[in-house]
Symmetry: C2
Subunit: 273 residues, 2 copies
Amino acid sequence: MDCNTPTDIVFSFTGLARRGGATGPHADGWGLAFFDGPAARVFLDPQPCAHSPLAGFLREHPIKTLQAIAHIRRKTKGRVRLANTHPFARELWGRHWVFAHNGTVKGAKTLRLSGRFQPVGQTDSEHAFCWLLDRITEKHKRRPDDPDKLAKLVADSAGVIAEHGTFNFLLGDGETLYARCDTRLWHIVRRAPFGQAALKDDDVTVDFSQVTTPRDRVAIVATQPLTSNERWVRGELATMWAFHKGALRGTYKSGEPSEKARRILRREQLSAR
Amino acid sequence: MDCNTPTDIVFSFTGLARRGGATGPHADGWGLAFFDGPAARVFLDPQPCAHSPLAGFLREHPIKTLQAIAHIRRKTKGRVRLANTHPFARELWGRHWVFAHNGTVKGAKTLRLSGRFQPVGQTDSEHAFCWLLDRITEKHKRRPDDPDKLAKLVADSAGVIAEHGTFNFLLGDGETLYARCDTRLWHIVRRAPFGQAALKDDDVTVDFSQVTTPRDRVAIVATQPLTSNERWVRGELATMWAFHKGALRGTYKSGEPSEKARRILRREQLSAR
């Protein structure tokens, strides 16, 4: 979620949480990061989100934020433990950077790390995140003034990692939310006139017009649409979105679509006919 | 807290939390970090600990750990916000390092940072932490095999920072807990035969013999003793303790005692007569 006004993520998180062991199989831990300016606080729990007391607590005590990144894990590499739980966080240029990955990029472990950012756990995801930060700092000692330049670098670097598997991700620094579509990613930007939205995974409906002002803008990105009655935008294969203050600031080419991504897309297009 | 067996920190945290706005004035936010192997999860809350729903949640849902670092803040520099809330965390050598400071080292902001570790907030504490990590990485590209060598480096570097004010701190990487006494620090190592302990700040007593095995060992370090009926050990001025698996592994000289520390000690000795 990326917004232009402090917003709580309870509605979307309620739908996502159900997929963590109830309506979906992603039961190997979960995490939720909230930015407050340049700082993020990350809540992590290596147990199924659908039944986690901490997840319940966060639904009952909403935290307003301009940017939040949530992840529910279905493990492929790395056992269920705290060190392997997304999202991962590092400090760069005096801000936290938060990263959550959907997919597997096993071979990315062959990408050499400088040592400045080192994985704490065993996942290929965290290795890829460290390499991405290495690439960024290699090109820029300081944050570049041009956000477009930085977004292009993130997208290009992510394209290199994506050669090693499936690399859908969310990456945020509290300012910009980068979201790369490898096989599957959707977004929606909610703005005035606000309407009703109904969760796919739970019997919950919200009337956003009751809780917003006309100037509010909220972008939500997810692997699958979270609501059943809104129009979500599908990401194109091997592209990356950059959101800022709840708006899509740009779409960037990011490597080449993988054979797997093309296959999934063809299958989905066939079954949709 | 540093232990040789997974232990929950609920008893000590209950006492500490009371000082965060109830029995003590440290009401400007709090944090609690739990290690699980090389990874830490850090719960942060920029509101008074004594009245924080999140603190209540953590007391009701104990997390067992070998090392935990808690902090309640009374702000001197940097306003009340997430980015200024201790403990601070960074990754170094593939482990999280967690840092909490008691005191003020304003002038430490003149210590130049390399840029590898940069403060996210405005506190002198986080600046000092970043400089400490800079010093460590400057001397060692990799974690030195000799823990004593590393502890000496931490103690010496901390001594340099301490020239700029008051530098009591806890620093942990999940393996070793470093605790520097500038003006005031106490510790206790609980081991068999275990007895009863009564909190100073709350009407809570625990009988550790009921919840431990004879091999358990738990070290607790705090600015002031947390219990009224146990024998705590006072830190000597300008020294640093290193704990490992619940035992004191060593005591290190760390710079020179400040005039302020000597003054406080003299005053306390006088009033104790």
